[in-house]
Amino acid sequence: MTPVSARKRKQFGGFLLLCLLLSAHVVYAGEQATRAALLVRELIARGEISPGSTLRLMVKQGNIANFLGTESELKARWERLTGTFLDARVMPQLASHEFISNGTDVDLTIARNREYPDLVRAGLLNDLTPLMQRFGFSLPEDAVSGYLLARLQAYFDGRVYAIPADGDVALLYLRRDLLEDEENRRAFQQQYGEPLQAPETWDDYLRLAAFFNHPEAGFYGALEPREPLTAWMYWMPRYASQAVPNQYLFDDRMRPLIASPAGIRATENFIRTVPYSPPDILGAGKDYSYTLPFFFNGKGFATIITLAGAKLFNLDSSPVKGKFSAVPMPGSRVADTLVRRSTLIYGNNLVIPSSSRQPLLAFLFAMWVTDPEVSLHAVGVQAGFADPFRYSHLDDPRIKQVYTAEVLAVLGRSLADVVPAGTGLPGDDEYIAVLNQQLWRAAKGELSAAVAMEQTAEAWNRITDRYGREEQIRYWRQIRGLYPHTAHE
């Protein structure tokens, strides 16, 4: 074959490929996905990606199906479109920091929102900003198909380090059938002088927990974990709602604000659910895997979990299917204003480790799989805990069928109340570990709420000094800007 004919054949092949991709765009994918797949082909043609490369994706057991699709349909489509291979594996049960720093055979993995600062500081993550610019991608936040919380899920220090892939906003789940039960309504009215309804404040929530708590019958009023690794998730919504617009963790000089009446109130409310919880609720490791089966099997009134909870409770095998509701997180009434706050308690977003051997391919796969249309197939998978992360997901019939329309609507209303996960600062692991420990001890009755907060504040000051107060102040100013600016009611 002459060079000319080879070139012509190559051009013709490119034309065919373009036609194929365009048709694929019409049938399956949106513009973002089409462009990502085309770019892979182009980079292969230019030698920046080797033909037949394998992308090593490592995610958690609970969400691997979200990236491969039902019956690995997404995997097959990606491989067909790009001519590359996808090797998806389940990551070990380790914290992201430990896993990424020890892993050498991972091109693309997941990390939680609050983990970025420490991962970046350790040099373990690739800065995706240059790739965004090079390939012309952005993280839109428009209400049609934009990312729900890109500002909270993708950035650190003004740079993009993650592609949002899981909108893990915490919601409160209640037994709607019990709330609507006439006998219960009469009894509650009689007992509290108020109608039985979904809680507005955390105090309302405590009353409901007490009302529905029947441990003698194996039924509990509050199914919130109180173990030492996840305590902050259930404390943070209580704390952040203590002031208008927010009760911040630090002041402008990074002095902790938690050793305050607001901090104490939040902590006390956190502790007061313990009597309405299952007996082993304070045991180490009793996280949502302990509380969730209670609610799933109809043995509790309320629980706090991400949107994925609805996916489980809506299964045919669950006794609570059709009997539960998700409601906005309770808040605090500050003067005449009801301040509701929630947070991203898990959130498994796509990050590219610095050790990735295929950063370009990893980035383009991340853009492809989070495309507004492709991600419908990912989030819509029944067998995975990745939750809707784009506005387009909230209106999609398939997603509604999996999550229920009601839950998706509540999520939409709660988006304006979401505060950043954890502290959002370098050293977050240390800050949160201290807070978790003190909250756990307070829940166990070893400390008062006030002491727990004071000790936590002292420890936080030490951590801040160790990391450099001025530098932490700079970061904190950025994090603080991500908090909601207004209260709803």
């Binding site: 089966p293 994925a308 996916k311 095998s317 067998a383």
Partner: protein, 865 residues
């Protein structure tokens, strides 16, 4: 075998090999059939075996994977992964069920009891899996683990055991099948071996019998032939059979009879021949002795000739021998190499033609005459060789005569004398040229001067000898050294050569003195431009080894024959004139002849003044009126330039116009005259609307193509009508027929300027000029007008000129009209316009206005006359 003896060998061999071939083919087909059956049996056996084992192994793997998924499901901590694991588990169950059914259908080795047992175990395990799935769906992982650990594990192990039993059962069945197949193949191999041995025996028997029959009769023939070859006679051999061998034996018997009879005849002939040979041998021995003597003699002669030939070949002197017709028969290497030819190319060529090409014709004629007369010719000639190289050779050609004195050949001997000739030329050059400046030396200069003087004598021309001495050269030589001095002389010599004409001789007299010989001059003054060139060429300083040196020459000039009739005297007088130039202040020249010298100085002075004449406003235009002869009215004027020098007073145009043309100043003067004449004409045109202004234009003004611009500028500045301006040119302008002149005249004509040919009749008076150039007016020279009243010939000329001009449609102007008689003749001949003292001499503009622009012409003319 007897039957075979009555057929030919060819048929016998064909039948034999055909039989063997058929036998081999039967054996091959049989062998192939046996091998095919064997391969099929083994392939089927192995295929069945592998397929069954693969299926059994696949079941092993699948049940293992299923168990793994079951355990993973039961141990899940992340409830969100349950659904995914359940999907996987159900898929695995379905696939195992399908594989098991397929296995039951395909397998033929395991017993039915074993397979039934396996099916029961699988059913129990599948129920366990459903139980585990149910617990997992309810997030009752503890129960799921319990069932998986204590209940389903037993059924899983049962399945494994059943599968192992199936595998063992299959192995035994497969082994038996293998043994049966092996026995069958052993039987086939034995049968094939027996058939093969039988066929081999048949082939060997046939070959042995056939070869024995053949070899017996061939050996009988061979023995008979050997006996015949050894000369033994024998009774005829026995003829057996009817094939080719029997025919061969009969033919052999016949041949044996013929051989015996010929052998007898040959023996008799041999004896006779022996006797003859003996006689002839004796005769040959006598002849050989005689020949040997002759060969010895010839060898001696050949040695001698070879020696002579080698001497000739290796001689450095070129030699050739030609026959009586001049064709070269022999030529040696030295001759060939010297001419640049090949010997093969020369042999057979005419040496006369060769010589004619190389040497002058007169020499060739002399040579041919000499050798034809039977005499030897000698000479030295310069020969042009192949490649254009010249060589001097000494040539000697002598006739070779036979014993009876007849010329049979020509012998030529050639010797290269180029080196000697070059040395002679070098000596001659050194004797005639100065080694430092490469100029002719004094001796050669005087020799050339002598030749120039002889030529001048013959042609009546002049020769000027310049004696040039460098001023203050001695100081430079003494202060900067001889080396600098020598280099300065070399540069001075170069400048001198550039300042003179190529035909002139520049020579070094000696020291810092040089001679310059100018010949072919009309007057001694003709040397002045050359002298000025030389003086100018020394105006620039000399840069010698970083020294900026100013050197000027003092030049003395002597003219032959006025200043001396022999070279020595002319040289001496030029030397004296040079000393006079030194006394005049150096950097100048001085003629030995006083008159020439004065004239020359005056001319130089005149030139110096002329250069400043315009800026000093010493130039003035005079105007001579032009009158219509018939009406006697003024029609115009001819502008004439006059120089009123502050140094020389009123200078005649005859003196300064030529000088201005030589120096190029005429261009400025011409432009000035054109501007002023046009301005003046414009004033007069107000009084006389058809006023014609005629102006002379020098040929020098046409150089460079500026004349058109000059005229147009003047007309534009003055506003004088272009068709009333007339420019006058002489034939001298037209002789060289320069394109730029042709172009300028054509342009001026196209613009409307009138062109007049001045002084017609004094030059070539070529009619072609009048035809080829756009003239409007013909001006008849005053010399014809002056004499036409006295000389009828001149009148005829004037008449012819007027007729010709009229015929060509030209206006006619008669110049120098001074008398009424002349005017009458011109009137009679039909000339239209006249100018001359009869009407008025050239006068300044103011006077012209007073006299002619404000009065009646008749009065004026009458007054003038």
């Amino acid at each position: 075998m007897n039957m075979w003896r009555f057929t030919s060998f060819r048929k016998q061999l064909l039948a034999a090999f055909g039989g063997i071939g058929v036998l081999v083919m039967i054996m091959l087909l049989l062998g192939n059939q046996i091998a095919g059956v064997s391969i099929k049996q083994f392939t089927r056996l192995i295929s069945d075996q592998v397929q069954v084992l693969a299926s059994a192994n696949d079941l092993h793997l699948r049940i293992g994977r299923l168990r793994l998924v079951e355990i993973e499901l039961a141990n899940l901590t992340d409830y969100f992964a349950v659904a995914n694991e359940l999907q996987t588990l159900n898929r695995q169950i379905t696939e195992f069920q399908r594989e098991l059914e397929l296995f039951e259908q395909q397998q033929q080795y395991a017993s039915g009891a074993v397979m039934r047992s396996l099916g029961r175990s699988w059913e129990l395990y599948r129920q366990d899996l459903q139980v585990v799935s149910g617990y997992a769906k309810k997030m009752q992982m503890g129960e799921a683990i319990r069932v998986s650990s204590f209940q389903s594990v037993l059924h899983f192990k049962d399945i494994q055991l059943q599968l192992q039993a199936v595998s063992s059962s299959m192995k035994q069945a497969v082994q038996q099948a293998y043994l049966r197949t092996e026995q069958e193949q052993q039987q086939l191999r034995s049968g094939f071996t027996l058939v093969s041995l039988l066929g081999l025996f048949v082939v060997i028997s046939f070959v042995v019998l056939f070869s024995r029959s053949l070899s017996r009769r061939v050996i009988s023939l061979r023995d008979a032939a050997e006996r015949v070859s050894r000369g033994f006679t024998h009774s005829p051999i026995h003829v057996d059979g009817n094939d080719e061998l029997a025919s061969l034996a009969a033919a052999f018997n016949q041949m044996q009879q013929q051989v015996q009879s010929r052998e007898r005849a040959l023996t008799e002939a041999h004896d006779t021949l022996e006797m003859r040979v003996e006689h002839r041998t004796r005769e040959l021995n006598a002849s050989n002795q005689h020949l040997q003597q002759e060969m010895d003699e010839r060898r001696r002669v050949e040695i001698s000739l070879k020696l002579l030939s080698q001497a000739m070949e290796q001689s450095p002197v070129g030699v050739f021998i030609a026959d009586i017709k001049g064709r070269i028969e022999y030529v040696n290497d030295a001759f060939v190499k010297s001419l640049g030819y090949h010997s093969a190319a020369l042999t057979g060529e005419s040496f006369l033609l060769l010589i004619q090409k190389a040497i002058p014709r007169d020499v060739t004629r002399e040579l041919i005459a000499t050798i034809n007369a039977g005499q030897e010719w000698r000479g030295e000639v310069e020969v042009r060789l192949e490649g254009g190289v010249f060589e001097w050779m000494s040539l000697r050609i002598a006739p070779v005569k036979s014993a009876d004195r007849q010329i049979t050949h020509f012998l030529a001997i050639k010797e290269d004398v180029t080196v000697r000739k070059q040395q002679e030329a070098k000596i001659l050059y050194q004797a005639q040229f100065d080694s430092l400046t490469d100029l002719p030396n004094r001796a050669l200069a005087l020799d050339r001067l002598s030749h120039s003087m002889v030529a001048a004598e013959r042609h009546g021309s002049k020769v000027v000898l310049m004696f040039l001495d460098l001023d203050d050269f001695k100081k430079i030589n003494d202060s900067l050294g001889h080396e600098i001095g020598d280099k300065l002389l070399m540069q001075a010599a170069a400048r001198l050569k550039q300042a003179v004409r190529k035909s002139d001789t520049v020579a070094r007299q000696g020291g810092d003195e040089f001679l310059v010989i100018l010949d072919g001059l009309t007057t001694g003054a003709d040397a002045e431009p050359v002298v000025e060139n030389i003086l100018k060429s020394f105006n620039c300083s000399f840069l010698v080894d970083g020294h900026d040196l100013v050197v000027t020459p003092s030049i003395g000039l002597a003219v032959y024959p006025e200043d001396g009739e022999d070279p020595g005297k002319l040289l001496r007088n030029a030397d004296l004139a040079m000393y006079q130039a030194k006394e005049d202040g150096r950097n100048t020249f001085h003629f030995y002849n006083r008159m020439i010298h004065d004239h020359s100085l005056q001319r130089l002075e005149l030139e110096r003044e002329l250069r400043h004449a315009l800026e000093r406003e010493e130039m003035e235009l005079y105007y001579q009126p032009l009158f219509d002869i018939k009406s006697r009215k003024l029609v115009g004027a001819e502008a004439l330039i006059r120089w009123n020098s502050r140094a020389f007073g009123l200078v005649s145009p005859n003196h300064f116009i030529g000088l201005a043309e030589q120096t190029g100043l005429i261009v400025q003067l011409g432009e000035w005259a054109m501007q002023h004449a046009c301005q003046q004409a414009c004033l007069w045109q107000n009084l006389l609307p058809d006023f014609l202004m005629s102006i002379n234009v020098s040929p020098r003004q046409f150089r460079g193509g500026f004349i058109t611009g000059t005229i147009l500028r003047s007309l534009k500045q003055s506003l004088f009508p272009i068709n009333q301006l007339q420019i006058e040119v002489t034939e001298g302008l037209l002789i060289r027929n320069l394109p730029e002149v042709q172009e300028a005249l054509t342009t001026l004509d196209r613009l409307g300027v009138r062109l007049a040919m001045d002084d017609f009749g004094t030059g070539y008076s070529s009619l072609s000029y009048l035809k080829n150039f756009p003239f409007h007016t013909l001006k008849i020279d005053r010399s014809f007008i002056n004499d036409m009243t006295d000389d009828p010939d001149y009148r005829t000329i004037v008449s012819a000129a007027i007729s010709m001009g009229r015929a060509l449609g030209l206006s006619l102007v008669a110049e120098g009209v001074e008398t009424e008689q002349q005017l009458a003749i011109l009137t009679e001949e039909g000339c239209q316009t006249a100018q001359g003292f009869l009407f008025g001499k050239p006068v300044p503009a103011a006077e012209f206005s007073d006299r002619w622009m404000e009065g009646e012409v008749d009065d004026v003319v009458g007054g003038a006359v």
